[in-house]
Symmetry: C2
Subunit: 200 residues, 2 copies
């Protein structure tokens, strides 16, 4: 195996794209019923109507294919909703995020994305999606004149704790966890603004 091109699609218009869609669809279908552990390339190939060797050549192995499907699945479909305030926007977005990620399917897809970390691509892509959505919310707030924490701060103290629970513990974070973390980070941002350079 050399370097499988994965998602990058040199000929997006034609057969390659059709096959990619077909294979992705087959994987999603099979995942609904079968366990991940007993998901085979020949099986996927048959449902997708392609030869196994095609899958091996394009994706390398099942895990890279799963990671590819996971990234597609975890890509946000729309911009975060505008509720009129930072607190509202962030709460709404994080609630949706947790609901999506903490579900059994979300957890599994996230693990798929993390697991194949060769060059760190799939997981990085997911983190980039998240960061993009957050920055949209935060910039919108700044445009309104609200005080907004840095994007990195929100990732560190809201997203990261939730993802840690999802990946490393058996517990399922709930909407209330998300809300509490959002409240805390915004409270701190406001406190820091009210008392600038608090330490000196």
């Amino acid at each position: 195996m050399v370097v499988p091109p994965t998602t990058a699609n040199p000929r997006p218009g034609g057969r390659s794209a059709r096959i990619q869609n077909s294979v992705h669809a087959a994987v999603r279908t099979l995942l609904e019923e079968h366990d991940r552990a007993q998901l085979s390339v020949p099986q996927i190939a048959q449902l997708a109507g392609v030869t196994p060797s095609t899958i091996y050549r394009r994706w390398g192995d099942v895990h890279e294919l799963l990671a590819d499907v996971a990234v597609e699945r975890l890509r946000p479909e729309s911009a975060p909703e505008d509720t009129g305030s930072l607190h509202g926007d962030l709460t709404a977005w994080m609630e949706q995020f947790v609901e999506e990620m903490a579900s059994p399917e979300g957890r599994a897809f996230t693990r798929d994305a993390v697991a194949f970390g060769g060059a760190g691509r799939p997981a990085c892509q997911c983190a980039a999606y998240t960061r993009e959505q957050l920055d949209t919310v935060l910039n919108r707030a700044r445009d309104r004149g609200e005080v907004a924490p840095a994007g990195q701060t929100v990732v560190d103290h809201v997203v990261a704790p939730l993802m840690y629970r999802i990946l490393f513990t058996a517990e399922t974070p709930g909407l209330d966890d998300a809300r509490a973390l959002v409240d805390a980070v915004l409270e701190r941002a406001n406190a820091a603004q009210t008392t600038p350079t608090a330490g000196i």
Copy 2:
């Protein structure tokens, strides 16, 4: 495949233990030179001096074996060092933690542990190790009469942000990142103690 017993060892005294050690050692050896992707069970079996079927029966597949090795590798070897103060203890421990986890090998082992999440065992075990070490440090501080944040708080706001960077981004968190997060969480704990029920 039914339910591979994995690490649980009904007969810890004898041959089973020898074989487990031998196989683990073989995996660690092979990982030093070969890429994870081209690591095969027959190869491991040969180096360990066992039959492939033994590995399949005990571990199920390569990934579960890798996860098993990862958990062993990520198990702390000793109690956190006592530097005389919470700030010192926590800083020292987190520095060591980051150094261990952010290295290429640490990242890879962590991914292995997270990837095989069937019942969530391997990753949970790692999180439990971390929590245990943290609680040791925090309880030690409380015994000294120091103000210490809750273990969950430290996990959420120090460990989680670091792990998020390790798993989801290309960046390598440094010792300074760890120190900054520790400083911040302790500062907040002290502030909360100084001004109890700040909100009311």
